[in-house]
Amino acid sequence: MPRRSPPNPLPRPRHLDTAGYILIQLLNGVQYGLLLFLLATGLTLVFGVMGIINLAHGSFFMIGAYLALTLTRLGMPFAVTIVLSLIAAVAIGIVTELVTLRHIYGRDHLDQVLLTFGLILIFNETVRLLWGADIQSLPMPEALSGSIPLFGRHRYPAYRLFVTAFGLLVGAGLWLLINRTRLGMIIRAGASRRETVGAMGININLVFTAVFGLGAGLAAVSGTVAAPILSLYPGMGEEIIIITFVVVVIGGLGSLRGALLGSLLIGVADTFGKAMLPELSSVMVYVMMVVVLLFKPRGLFSRG
């Protein structure tokens, strides 16, 4: 049996090590937070404008990942994959809204929860039929597959830096969309005074369809972007959606700013919990939620 030569690390100054370590864990937290942010924006938008608690949001995350799998296998470059799976998911979202949600806006939240839970089962089963139940994985785009050295012996996956940048980019794009466009204005108006918007002659149904499509698209894009890091299987969306709900509740239901801050808080808290208090890591995000809700019962940026 060949013996491997043990690596012989040079001793390094302890405090440099610690600073670098904390910075890297901070980067891990921010990166994870921005991934959650991509998911949380869609969820909070749909709730803010439409008043719908969409449990099936995670299904669009899954759909984005599986669409990316097929597109990549067809030989599409990753950038094209992101755009195409966004378009396809928006279309699926719009059809879903027209066929199902459209008919229950008048009903209470429980009926909506029941409907969107049913959607989860349908989407999972559809994915199983189309792509199979086996665990699959999406190869990483070649150009981003390496890791770069950071702080001494640490290396950081290049792809995760891309996810960080991508999250910031989407956040900026959304901010422009909501605050600087006519559609954004209608969305904002619809979120706070639905009836008034209707009375102004704006087709509120059309706005709802557009917003649900946008929410589905955002979830799908985060699925596409997260897929090379995760593994793909029917039902993969449910694990991440719970923590996304925590983010949205902390941030304040319906608030985009809240979603950003909530995501970063949860991302960083969860990361440091895992790294430093592993025994408590599973409750860390919920402790965070309780603390925030104690002082801000409606979340950090609740409306009205």
């Binding site: 049996m1 491997r4 864990q25 891990n28 086996d134 012996r153 792809y159 990361t271």
Partner: protein, 400 residues
């Protein structure tokens, strides 16, 4: 061992794979069928494990045309959903309503633990085809519970010894999902590793179903161990191995593990990220012996894919039941006689000679396998060493 919890499917799929009527008439008289009740996951993430075990079992039964000592064999399947609650419900239904002669399954340790009492109290034979929960062949062993797979202790204890002695590794970081099977496997590894001069730099237990391992990987890099030893399975194994490679650790710190880390369909999903990983297990599909080669060939011909370890365990479960029934002349009413027949089962398994310990757990070789590029895009586990021969779980606390 256990494979995660996925409670989403609310439907229970009931399939009855009946015996062709033709065979019934061959028997010449209406012999009472021997019923096998399969409690396995057929939905969601672990569907492939349940399917592999079922396929392996059906392959073994088809070798005897679903007929032993004049009695036809009928297989009943029901989806456990990897849930202890559902698993127990199905178990009770199989015992009380269908009056099965054998329970087969489950995949997960926590489901197995939940099924134990129902099987034991009703004196129904339960053949565990995967779950490695050590207690079931130790302090909670039963005259009616047998295992054809492994105990969570078995692959990991000799791996600890092998890494310290043969690889000369003294400082490792270990990781496993935070639940019974993960903890049991790490304890077994430490038992072998520490006794041979090894040192554990850090132990980390992420939640089962963790999606982001990056904080744990940063901790590993910070501690700078000589090697990392882990147990993950299913979707977690895919995520962990890929994220380990993406973080650049693959080329810095060699990764070792329990064989489940890189087994079956998990390995094809991991791809290049898994190459170089060394793991311990009781079989590999590349094993060079005639029984294993025949098994792989037959399985491929019948199902169109390479069998996994889980397929093998299903296959051996089939052989064990067939051989015991042959020994009793098809009699399942005399429980004591059937128990002795099961205890005396001996055959040449693809993994090597198969026989059971006093506590009903297989005595088996543990092999060290390395994931290699075998050319033509094939990535496979090749056996590079034998970590232990005819290894028997200590069976502590079992007095059968």
């Amino acid at each position: 061992m256990s494979w995660a919890v996925n409670p989403n499917r609310s439907t229970l799929a009931i399939f009855v794979v009946g015996l062709p009527m033709v065979l019934m008439s061959w028997a010449g008289y209406a012999a009472e069928p021997v019923k096998l009740g399969l409690v396995l996951p057929y939905s969601a993430v672990y569907a492939s494990l349940g399917n592999d075990i079922t396929n392996g079992l059906e392959l073994a039964l088809s070798e005897v045309n679903y007929q032993v000592a004049g009695r036809p064999i009928v297989v009943l399947k029901q989806d456990s959903q990897v849930s202890p609650k559902v698993g127990l419900q199905i178990t009770k239904k199989f015992i009380q309503q269908d009056k099965v002669d054998f329970l087969v399954g489950p995949v997960a340790s926590h489901v197995a633990n939940a099924m134990r009492k129902a099987a034991h109290d009703s004196k129904t034979f339960m053949i565990i085809a995967n779950a490695g929960s050590v207690v079931l062949t130790r302090e909670l062993c039963s005259p009616y519970i047998f295992r054809t797979s492994f105990s969570n202790w078995q692959p990991n204890y000799p791996m600890g010894i092998w890494m310290a002695r043969e690889e000369g590794i003294k400082r490792v970081a270990i990781l496993a999902p935070n639940y019974a099977a993960g903890r049991q496997m790490m304890e077994a590894f430490k038992e072998g590793f520490l006794a041979n001069g090894g040192e554990i730099l850090s132990e980390q237990y992420p939640a089962l179903g963790e999606s982001d391992f990056q904080p744990y990987l940063t901790n590993i890099a910070q501690g700078n161990p000589e090697a990392v030893f882990v147990f993950f399975s299913g979707a977690d194994a895919v995520k962990f191995v890929r994220q380990y490679a993406q973080a650049g650790l693959k080329d810095q710190i060699p990764l070792y593990g329990s064989g489940f880390l890189v087994e079956g369909k998990v390995l094809s999903a991991q791809g290049q990220a898994a190459v170089g990983i060394k793991t311990a297990l009781h079989w590999a599909d590349t094993m060079d012996n005639p029984v294993s080669k025949k098994f792989v060939r037959d399985y491929k011909a019948k199902f169109g894919e390479i069998p996994s370890l889980f397929s093998l365990q299903g296959y051996d479960t089939g052989h064990m039941i067939i051989q015991a029934l042959e020994a009793t002349g098809g009699d399942t009413s005399d429980k004591m006689r059937l128990r002795r027949a099961l205890e005396d089962v001996r055959f040449e398994s693809p993994r090597g000679p198969f026989k059971l310990s006093r506590s009903h757990n297989p005595i088996q070789n543990i092999y060290i396998r390395e994931v290699v590029n075998a050319g033509y895009g094939v990535i496979e586990n090749q056996i590079i060493a034998v970590a232990a021969e005819a290894l028997e779980d200590p069976g502590t606390g079992c007095d059968l």
